[in-house]
């Protein structure tokens, strides 16, 4: 199947992986020594913390507020202790906390008791998530034949979860394999996760656990009807990265947008905060067998896709290393890239194809996520439809795994119902009509595509070398990525980073490390 078309030098690829490892290693050291408010809130949620108070502040946030500068000890023991001391179930305890109970000042139970209780809670979290995984695998096997390659991925973005449900079910009927509920514009900068079903968002819908549940149910229903398992996607990104991962694990999401550096570069979130958060979020995703979608496409919406192609490849290598370090197998790494060359560029199609094929050959097991043209889409919906046709063509002829369907109205509005149908129809036509094209052609030796791929790989390597030399933190500070400079101590969320104390206790973290065999 995947005979090499590009004739890339395997040693160069290995070398790129090595440098990337060198790049992420020092970051890893930093991560090991630190925790964040969101890592702790995540842990609390895994233990059972949930709900909100009268001001709509989530219980996990209330607990963190109570801990003040003791966050570095780990929040878990406080919560478990409170369960023991108060003799309450998590949900009863949550209500107490919402009503004002301060759990940071309770007396301490025996540490063996705490550990026993912890083991029990870990167990209950673990079985719920494992049950989700089992159920998903069962459904995937049951409906095996109806899954297309690549998976057809559509978004809904009404801002209202109930309206989203209608659109998502419609999209599934039209042929989507994957539904992403786009998040409201501001959410990635909120340092808490909103609660309950929501009906008001801008350009998207709030990610809440209840919204996840509502959509999951709706997709399961429509899936049974049409004989297909419909995958659900949300954003595990921003200041609540790991918390959303847990919500997704609990509600059986199947994919998550999740990138090791997106928040830093495109959301101006502090780099230390992001690196610590991303690791835990990826551990959760790995455990729940959630495929991540990384955000390399974002480099190209800001910079030129031809000139900066190498930043995409470099970022894929970095994302891969961070993912490995979180215990994630390659089959869950939906590394991202995008069809964003200027449509007026001569041979642009060849450069896109070379890039897509290169990603395929360098990351053979990863279910690559391929993003459609967006930047050069205009109000000319017909031209846009033709661009989407060639995009679908490349996706299939380079064996991409996850195909975000292009919308002909990309430059105009968030998708109308018919826009989505037209997106699916285009993809189905193309994918079927040239189903085996990939296997039927070869690239000319030293032709335009081979040369281009080699050039981009070389450029990525020198870029990675440069980063490695400076160190990733400095590289980001010095504007090496995405044409933005992010100071180490700048950005949002740095105040939520804590050094771990010696006695740092986090049974969930340790559990996941064991499960995922992270050294």
């Amino acid at each position: 199947m995947n005979r090499s078309k590009l004739d890339l030098d395997p040693e160069k690829i290995d070398y790129a992986r090595e440098i990337s490892k060198k790049i992420t290693q020092p970051v890893q050291d930093y991560i090991s020594g630190h925790t964040t408010v969101s890592v702790e809130r995540t842990t609390l949620r895994m233990l059972g913390a949930d709900g909100i108070d009268a001001n709509e502040v989530p219980v996990p946030n209330l607990i963190i507020q109570q801990l003040k500068d003791r966050v570095g000890e780990g929040a878990a023991k406080f919560y478990i202790n409170a369960l023991l001391k108060k003799g309450l179930t998590p949900s009863a305890l949550n209500s107490e906390i919402a009503n004002g109970l301060d759990i940071s000042t309770l007396e301490w139970a025996e540490s063996t008791q705490i550990e026993k209780k912890a083991a029990e809670l870990v167990q209950s979290f673990s079985s719920r998530v494992k049950e989700n995984v089992r159920f998903r695998n069962e459904k995937l096997t049951q409906f095996n034949s109806s899954q297309s390659t690549p998976l057809l991925y559509l978004i809904v973005a009404t801002g209202n979860i109930y309206e989203d449900v209608k659109q998502a079910q419609g999209a599934a009927i039209q042929g989507a394999d994957v539904i992403a509920v786009i998040r409201t514009t501001g959410q990635s900068l909120l340092d808490y996760v909103p609660f309950g079903p929501t009906t008001e968002g801008f350009g998207g819908t709030y990610a809440t656990q209840e919204n996840f549940k509502i959509m999951r149910k709706a997709l399961d229903e429509v899936g049974e009807k049409i004989g297909k398992y419909i995958r659900l996607v949300n954003y595990c990104s921003g200041l609540c990265m790991p918390e959303i991962a847990v919500m997704g694990a609990l509600e059986r999401l199947d994919m998550m947008l999740n990138d090791s550096m997106y928040g830093i570069l495109f959301r101006d979130i502090n780099m230390y905060r992001t690196f610590v958060d991303q690791k835990f979020s990826r551990m959760v995703n790995s455990f729940a067998e959630i495929v991540i979608n990384t955000g390399e496409d974002n480099y190209l919406t800001t910079s030129d896709a031809f000139e900066k192609a190498y930043t995409v490849t470099a970022s894929q290598f970095i994302n891969e290393q961070f993912a490995y370090e979180s215990g994630m197998p390659a089959r869950l790494m939906g590394l991202g890239h995008a069809f964003e060359m200027n449509p007026e560029m001569k041979n642009g199609f060849l450069f896109e194809m070379a890039q897509a094929q290169m990603a395929r050959e360098i990351f053979p097991e990863a279910p690559l996520k391929y993003m459609p043209p967006t930047k050069y889409m205009t109000g000319d919906i017909f031209k846009g439809y033709a661009m989407n046709t060639l995009f679908n063509f490349i996706a299939k002829s380079t064996n991409q795994g996850i195909l975000l369907l292009g919308m002909l109205t990309e430059a105009i509005h968030t998708p109308f119902m018919q826009d989505r149908y037209l997106g699916v129809a285009n993809a189905r036509y193309v994918l079927n009509s040239m189903a085996d094209f990939a296997d039927d052609i070869e690239f000319r030796k030293d032709g335009i595509m081979q040369t281009r791929a080699k050039d981009v790989l070389d450029q990525s390597i020198s870029f990675l070398e440069q980063i490695s030399e400076k160190g990733l933190f400095n590289a980001i500070e010095q504007r090496l990525f995405a044409e933005v400079a992010r100071p180490k101590n700048g950005g949002k969320g740095l105040d939520g980073v804590y050094e771990k104390t010696d006695g740092y206790y986090n049974p969930m973290y340790s559990f996941l490390e064991r499960e995922l065999k992270i050294n």
Partner: protein, 243 residues
């Protein structure tokens, strides 16, 4: 009463996409004209999302707008076409109720040279895995092909003692099909033959409504299968026999 409106991404948002060309040179004034024109058509929140010159004197626009116009869906009535019988159904219906083979004759008439449509209905092999009337044991089907004069078609229908005449019309530019179909009925009536035959019109731009207006017994458009036609003819013949 069930008032409905177009749906973009919210119920009743009234979102509609339009495209058209105006005979003006592209520029700010042309765009403003397109906006005002679309507003005059009754749309609000009009956005010209694309304007492209076609020549010095013409500009093409893609426009999105919203309309507050609603229509009462309960008031829409369509003659629900009876579910047609299938191949076997048609044949046994004829055997039982008419008790003889029936004869149909068809052609694409006038200067119209499109045979694929009438072939789809009449020829053995049929269309999209639906057998043509030629294959029906209880039907004798004669297909004259295309470019047949109305006069010749009528003459041969009489000669073959046909029960039904099928007229196909595909080219519709400048209403050439209307002229031709009207002429066909006039000829039949002039010869006093109208009531002798069941006469059907068909083609991609023919609707049942149009055919009835022009004096045919029925009209068949896109997506017609042979059994639709067979069913209609058989039932209509029985209906005629009853009278």
């Amino acid at each position: 009463m069930q008032l409905i409106k177009p749906y973009g991404d919210t119920l009743n948002d009234g979102a509609v996409q339009l495209s058209f060309t105006l005979p003006v040179s592209n520029g700010a004034k042309a765009i403003e004209a397109a906006i005002q024109y679309t507003k005059k058509l009754g749309f609000t929140e009009v956005e010209v999302v694309n304007a492209h010159p076609l020549s010095d004197d013409f500009t093409f626009f893609v426009v999105y707008g919203k309309t507050s116009m609603a229509i009462d869906y309960d008031k829409i009535v369509v003659e629900e076409i009876e579910k047609p019988m299938d191949f076997y159904g048609v044949n046994s219906y004829i055997k039982e109720h008419i008790q003889r083979k029936i004869a149909v004759i068809g052609a694409c008439t006038g200067t119209d040279a499109h045979t694929v449509g009438i072939d789809a209905i009449l020829n053995m092999k049929g269309w999209e895995q639906h057998y043509g009337l030629e294959r029906y044991p209880m039907i004798d089907a004669y297909n004259l092909g295309a470019q047949i004069l109305n006069e010749d078609l009528i003459r041969l229908a009489v000669e073959k003692n046909a029960d039904a005449i099928l007229v196909s019309q595909v080219v519709t530019q400048k209403d050439v099909h209307i002229h031709n179909l009207t002429n066909f009925i006039e000829l039949l009536e002039a010869d006093g033959l109208r009531s002798r035959f069941i006469v059907l019109a068909g083609g991609p731009r023919i609707s049942n409504k149009l055919a009835l207006e022009l004096g045919f017994d029925a009209g068949f458009g896109r997506g017609t299968y042979p059994e639709h036609v067979g069913s209609f003819i058989a039932k209509k013949m029985v209906e005629k026999m009853m009278r």
